[in-house]
Point group: C2
Chain length 213, copies 2
């Protein structure tokens, strides 16, 4: 398994610029030999402006709206091709937010508004679990009565045969190299497993067990 993935929770962290918080991780991930990256701008409406932002930062990304991104990947018939190139040919894949969601089994645990209808919620499937990017702890001072993030993921796990969900807080990311997965960044991650209590993991934790499910 040649897979190499860098799955980032969020592209901007409070107080910093675009991708600043993971800049070193990205440089290290791609290394000095990479001359070209393929940027997939499908998740935002103005693709030229989005591509310019990414090019200016000399990075590849995948933020924006998850439904729009996945629908465009299907419309352009590149879901299987990306999977093949990453899993068989070892092309490195980096995503943040929406780009992280579409790299997993399905987009069932995105936070985005369903502004378009993709032909399936199944995604590229580079890892055998799901991720909830921008994972958010309940705010005890909030008067808003919408469901907490934990309640939403619990609702997902009421459905049959649903996979683990890794809640990646803003500032955290997952590095996958072959069959090894490591939590990086500055914040903890919370793992939700169907029918079990959730578990917190510190940055630096080895999460390789998630790849063998």
């Amino acid at each position: 398994m040649k897979r190499r993935l860098l799955l980032v929770s969020n592209s901007t962290l409070h107080g910093g610029g675009y991708l600043d918080h993971c800049q070193q991780n990205i440089s290290h991930f791609f290394g000095k030999d990479v001359k070209r990256v393929l940027f997939v701008p499908y998740a935002l409406h103005d693709r030229d402006a989005y591509t310019k932002t990414a090019r200016d930062k000399f990075q590849t990304l995948g933020g924006g709206n998850t439904f729009r991104l996945l629908k465009s990947l299907y419309d352009n018939k590149v879901v299987s091709e990306i999977r093949r190139r990453v899993l068989e040919d070892g092309v490195p894949y980096m995503g943040s937010s929406a780009g992280t969601n579409v790299s997993t089994i399905s987009i069932n645990t995105t936070n985005d508004m369903p502004i378009v209808y993709p032909p399936s919620f199944s995604a590229i499937g580079l890892v055998p679990f799901n991720i909830n990017p921008h994972y958010l702890d309940p705010n005890p001072n909030s008067r808003h009565m919408g469901e907490t993030r934990e309640q939403r993921i619990t609702q997902y796990h009421e459905e049959p045969d649903t996979p683990c969900v890794l809640g990646l807080r803003e500032g955290s990311m997952l590095l996958v190299e072959g069959n090894k997965a490591t939590l990086l960044g500055t914040t903890k991650a919370r793992l939700f497993t169907r029918g079990k209590p959730s578990v917190e993991y510190d940055p630096g934790s080895d999460l390789s067990f998630l790849l063998t499910h």
Copy 2:
């Protein structure tokens, strides 16, 4: 058009009990002659417990997860039947949150997590626009970098031919009687129209123009 709808933003308001904030509106809406209500418990996993909560309150409702609710309505082939009974026979319809979302053109503007895949995002279509329940203003003190609600609705309006979206804040509801629509409750609502600035409406406002689009 015999339609009579009461579309509530949220079933619980901070500091109050289940449906307390709209109790009088519901009593007035159904009137004294209604002896039975059909409660649709599809939006939550434990349908018996959910039905008991609703029965205890002697109310009909539609909170929970919008995707689960709409998928079950399709699975049970009742979408067209509900539309016919409400629009042609004048059966009153009351929904809150998820139940409000599925009464509109589509669920494209729900806040819920897409935990199941419905056969379409098209919904019952009792009104010719969409609603965003639990509408939330940006919190200037938040350090969270997820999109604001307004940004999400703006992304929706980047798609072609998308209808108006009425942002119903918690505490507000829309009463529809035939071709007359009135904003009720204690909070303002914000109307988003594709390509135009958004507009605020006070409780008591006549929003009948939304029904003629």
